[in-house]
Symmetry: C3
Subunit: 157 residues, 3 copies
């Protein structure tokens, strides 16, 4: 089964993102790598905002991370057309919108939040979806809950 | 018009940065990519410091971002000599020095701050200057207002 | 003297990291680059946690950064076997766990903390260890003191 077929089977509709004139590119290719811009937690057009661990639960944060990841895949499709051209998910930078004392308890863990992204990649891409990552807390634009940057390796097109 | 000519026409004097002995490299090349170190908001030798949205306005933050970007270009020139060797601005990580509650209002937006960098790149490089980016808030060294990391693609030299 | 020999001479025991099933990869190769996941400040199995500048001194933070860097080298060994295959340390992202007002004094400086990583790389790799880097403050998972991401260039294997 191809990655595109697998995504559809899992119920994900991943369309190429619309590039907004005058804004940073959704994604860019250099050689056989594609870099995305940081993609925000927007789910079917609805913005997921707030500090994880305060305004949102960890579970809601994971859902935000999953949708930021789906938006990365949409961004990548603007450059390579089909997810089937991905040969490797290389690197994730998962950024979680947190209060500064978020991580001081062991239950509050930015890694757990970004697992929502990593699990999605595993579901769709299997072994090809295994990646290196960092998952850290900071302050995100317009109070979005999660932002994710992705680097993927693609076939020579 | 070349990128070097365009920069001069716009009034920007972009010299190769001075590498300080024993410090991280200003920039480094691998293959046909150049990675800069994070460059700080220093304008004609004057350090731009403070929390954006508290000590500095958004507009002052944009100016800080523009000068951090100019410093990235100086850093890149230590490795490739001339801006004319750039074939693509690939990726920007724009880091804004903020209070943790900076982004909770829609006027306060780290994206707007980093637009000061993106606009400069568009001015000098046109289409070649289109890039992927993230623009996020964190705590910066010695309270500098903005720090920017850049990855560019260059000609085979 | 090889890098492996130098590391041993300096007293560092750098074994390939153990990959945990179902977790992000410790490191990943694409072309002749290796990207690590963010590696945490763990020293001989002991977790170094807390906010640098509050719970830990700058000097303790530097030690945390050194051990996060050693963990990056262990991560890289999972992919390339021997440190002798490294041709260039390319880029470091040094992330320091801080209070939001950490950098407001000139003594408190995230750059100084990450010097603990840069010095280690210089000790082991000499000129090959010269790198680009950013060194910034944010909120780290489970309150770890330092997290470091590394990109290195390797021989064609």
């Amino acid at each position: 089964m191809t990655f595109e077929q697998k995504a559809i089977e899992l119920g994900y509709k991943i369309e190429p993102a619309k590039q907004v004139q005058g804004k940073p590119l959704k994604a860019i290719r250099t050689g056989n790598l594609v870099y995305t811009s940081g993609q925000l937690s927007i789910k079917n057009g609805v913005e997921i905002k707030g500090k994880v661990g305060k305004d949102l639960t960890i579970s809601e944060g994971q859902d935000a991370a999953k949708h930021a990841a789906l938006n990365c895949l949409s961004a990548i499709k603007t450059v390579i057309g089909s997810l089937n051209n991905i040969t490797r998910i290389v690197k994730i930078l998962g950024m979680v919108n947190v209060e500064r004392d978020f991580n001081e308890s062991s239950d509050n863990d930015t890694s757990k939040v970004i697992d929502g992204c990593s699990e999605l990649l595993h579901e769709i891409f299997g072994e090809t979806g295994q990646h290196a990552r960092s998952a850290v807390g900071m302050t995100l634009p317009r109070d979005f809950a999660v932002e994710i940057e992705m680097i993927v390796e693609i076939k020579s097109l």
